[in-house]
Amino acid sequence: MKKLALLAGTALALAIGAVSGASAADKLKACWVYTGPIGDFGYSYQHDQGRLAVEKELGDKVETAYVENVAEGPDAERVFERFAREGCGIIFGTSFGFMDPELKVAKKFPDVKFEHATGYKSAPNMGLYNARFYEGRYILGQIAAKESEKGLAGYIVSFPIPEVVMGINAFMLGAQSINPDFKVKIVWVNSWFDPGKEADAAKALFDQGADIIVQHTDSTAAIQVAEERGLKGFGQSSDMIKFAPKAQMTAIVDDWGPHYIKSVKAVLDGTWKADDVWEGIKDGTVHMAEYTNMSDETKKLAEETEAKIVGGWNPFTGPIFDQDGKERYADGVVAPDADLLGMNWYVKGVDDKLPQ
């Protein structure tokens, strides 16, 4: 009897050993590819915060890896391919410019799951995810129009991709809803990340009479210039209030954590499928930093608009006219998501020629 118990015990121990061994092998490896350094305190930093949230939430069920500073374009292919070969179960490409290289690798490795942020091409094993940043930009536009004394904002942008154009348009629609004559000056710096150049662009825009600065680039340089000059602006991707306690009115903060946790969990459960997820303020992916450095009236307006957006209202609701005065969306018509994701035209009132 004693012998039997011992035997049973050994068998049990063996079984446990086998199970835990299996679970170690089953540990999911989730991998991220970032375009900037995670130390940018902007876009890539926020994605990395999302990765850390996954580690925290799922603990030893996952193992994560990342590569930062990956140039957008064909060169990124090697990074995706390496991850796929290294046994990553799911790979997140976090920037628009990774779209084609990631798709190419996804087709080569049908068993690996891929997700691409802010793009529009997908595959059976490559899903899309994005955040409705434009919702935040509409609010920024309203705040800018309310708070600007000169009715002129400076807007620093990186590359003419739909994401950026959509942001400019949403900003202008917001601003025009308050002041129909509101103007914006646009400067393309052709880089996501060059603090010096961003600062120079901000200075140029302020020197030309803008009193509010908006940016679609990743560093804190522009808002710091605003702080120095006693003017106003907005944070981008992260809450930058520490850098500009008197200048930052609010910031569009990206919170990718909830989405990453959901996706990685789905892979673990075996329920993952190539989705097209586009979440905004309502879902917490886009989050507005505290409204401050503005009048109570403006703050109230911003909060109302935010509530309206949470309630399901889309800033791209007609009537919307393009630069040439052509009506793109009739009164009450909501722009379909596909249009937004491929947006390559400016709304009426933007005084800039879109680089093609």
């Binding site: 400067v187 393309w188 030309q208």
Partner: protein, 304 residues
């Protein structure tokens, strides 16, 4: 408006000028250090770290210069003492600097920096137009000009400068005359490191008081190009740096004015200007050859 543009140009040109002046001396001694970007970014992270820790941007600048010197010392040891290939070692130094600075700066990301204060001379700084441009800059701007004059004077008017040029032009002869080729080159490389470190510290302490990885964004490479652009003459490096700064800043202004140029073309202009000037200079072959250090990039092994 013009005043504002000039002020912005000065800040854009200063880091380039500091690094280029240092590299000019290095190359005049016959050493090609392609690691300017790496030394600059180390200067940027050290400058920021010291500024934050001590609360003094001035100490930060000193820290940046020291960091630049320390990494340049690695380069000097590898290429001068161990006689490794200068081009490969310089490229390695850039990659090393970018990586190490990212590691060192990790805890400083997301912290606002302290800006180096500009000079304020009562009366003079308040003069219309020229006041702020001439008397309202920060210490490093004046230092960059002092460096141009100092280096010019050193190279052309001092015995030590003559020795340095001799080492750069013909290291075998200089050695035969009894000068320490390796010693002179060590000093030159360390000077170059200090200047690149200053240029980097200017970025993180004066230009944009923040630390982020890769914040030099290629300025080290431009400084390298400026040295060739200047055909190894200090005052031409100053002109080059300001020209480059001017084109960069003006293209942002023309965009904001809504002049209908494609922005990519405008962004290309500073580089295009560099190429054109290089072509123009090389047209005069004799003058170019005259200024080019003949032993540039060549390793020296004393034959005893």
């Amino acid at each position: 408006m013009l005043e504002a543009i000039i002020l912005t140009i000065i800040t854009a040109a200063t880091p380039l000028l500091l690094a280029a002046t240092g590299e000019l001396v290095v190359e005049k001694s016959g050493v090609l250090n392609l690691g300017v970007e790496g030394m600059m970014v180390m200067g940027a992270v050290a400058g920021f770290a010291v500024t934050i820790s001590t609360g003094s941007p001035l100490l930060g600048i000193v820290g940046g210069a020291i960091a630049g010197m320390l990494v340049s010392l690695i380069f000097a040891f590898v290429t001068l003492t161990l006689v490794a290939n200068q081009v490969a070692s310089g490229l390695a130094l850039t990659l090393f600097g970018l990586g190490l600075s990212g590691l060192m700066g990790e805890s400083f990301v997301g912290q606002p920096g302290i800006k180096l204060q500009s000079l304020h001379v009562p009366g003079l700084t308040d003069l219309p137009f020229v006041g702020k441009i001439l008397f309202g800059q920060d210490l490093l701007v004046y230092l960059s000009f002092a460096a141009v004059f100092g280096v010019s004077w050193f190279l052309n008017r001092t015995r030590a400068g003559l020795i340095l040029r001799a080492v750069g032009d013909n290291h075998t002869s200089a050695h035969a005359l009894g000068y320490s080729v390796i010693g002179v080159r060590y000093l030159a490389v360390i000077f170059g490191g200090a200047m690149a470190g200053l240029g980097g510290a200017y970025l993180s302490v004066a230009y944009t008081p923040l630390w982020v990885e890769n914040m030099t964004a290629g300025r080290g490479w431009i400084a390298l190009a400026l040295v060739v652009f200047a055909s190894w003459i200090p005052w031409r490096a100053a002109i080059g740096a300001y020209l480059f700064g001017a084109v960069t800043v003006l293209q942002l202004h023309t965009q904001a004015l809504g002049i209908g140029f494609p922005s990519q073309f405008l962004a290309m202009l500073p580089y295009l200007a560099t190429v054109i000037v290089l072509v123009a200079i090389s047209g005069n072959r004799r003058a170019t050859l005259f200024n080019t250090p003949s032993s540039l990039g060549k390793s020296f092994v004393p034959d005893r």
